[in-house]
């Protein structure tokens, strides 16, 4: 396949392939190294979409150079991935948030609900105290 490609096509393909590999590696490295799940989910979702787009452009360039025609059905993978990747990320984030809240409720109901009750209870006397404090002078 690489015998009859001109020099500019080889250079463009090499740059696209190296970029795709770099982005895929960056995404998985971010998934491996970042501290929390909510920061971990950003890395592969963004970087894998960009890597797949680079590979698809490389396929289109190869087909256009070797067969002298425009192959558009490779864009289907990139289009599909652009649609489905944020959907999966949003579902996973919602599931993680729901499970986190459920775990916190299971751990300590009193320590979770006590600040809200205390905050709601303490807001009214402060206003009353401020009103009464402003009215007494």
């Amino acid at each position: 396949m690489s015998a009859d490609l001109p020099i500019w096509a080889v250079l463009v393909l090499s740059v696209l392939l190296v970029t795709a590999g770099f982005f895929a590696l960056t995404g998985s490295l971010g998934m491996l190294r970042l501290p929390h799940f909510y920061s971990r989910i950003h890395a592969p979702t963004l970087a894998n979409t960009l890597a797949s787009f680079c590979i698809v452009v490389a396929i289109i360039v190869t087909a256009a150079v070797t067969e002298h025609r425009f192959v558009a059905h490779s864009l289907l993978i990139s289009f599909f991935l652009i649609i489905t990747s944020p959907v999966t990320a949003m579902l996973l984030m919602r599931a993680a948030i729901k499970r986190e809240l459920q775990r916190r409720e299971d751990q300590g109901t009193v320590s979770e609900n006590a600040p809200e009750v205390k905050l709601e209870g303490s807001s009214l006397p402060e206003e009353e105290a401020g009103v009464s404090g402003g009215s007494t002078p």
């Binding site: 396949m1 690489s2 015998a3 490609l5 020099i7 080889v10 250079l11 393909l13 090499s14 740059v15 392939l17 190296v18 795709a20 590999g21 770099f22 895929a24 590696l25 995404g27 998985s28 490295l29 998934m31 491996l32 799940f37 971990r40 989910i41 592969p44 894998n48 890597a51 797949s52 590979i55 698809v56 490389a58 396929i59 190869t62 070797t66 059905h73 490779s74 289907l76 993978i77 599909f80 991935l81 489905t84 990747s85 959907v87 999966t88 579902l91 996973l92 919602r94 599931a95 993680a96 729901k98 499970r99």
Partner: protein, 93 residues
């Protein structure tokens, strides 16, 4: 001149394989269940990219169809697992 393309192809394939290995590590030691679903999501996308690169290397169009199937069914699997984590059941009555 084709040596540059071969080097770039092997670099891309090595990067994808390394990314799959990192996803396998996150799949094994992930602290929560959502981490493991995210690792599976990254794994199928990297496998799809590997297949696309192999199709570019060997000049065959069969790899493209397999990659499209992996893309579609991988999304269905990830969405089903995320829905299971969210609701407790996949198909709601």
């Amino acid at each position: 001149m084709s040596q540059i393309l071969d080097i770039a192809l092997f670099f891309a394939l090595g990067c994808f394989v390394l990314a799959i290995c990192m996803a396998v590590y996150r799949l094994a030691v992930g602290p929560s269940m959502a981490d493991r679903v995210l690792a599976l999501d990254a794994m199928y996308i990297n496998g799809m990219l590997t297949l696309l690169t192999l199709g570019l290397r060997f000049g065959s169009s069969l790899y493209f169809d397999i990659a499209l199937l992996i893309c579609m069914f991988g999304f269905v699997g990830s969405a089903a697992m995320a829905k299971f984590l969210l609701r407790g059941e996949v198909i709601e009555p």
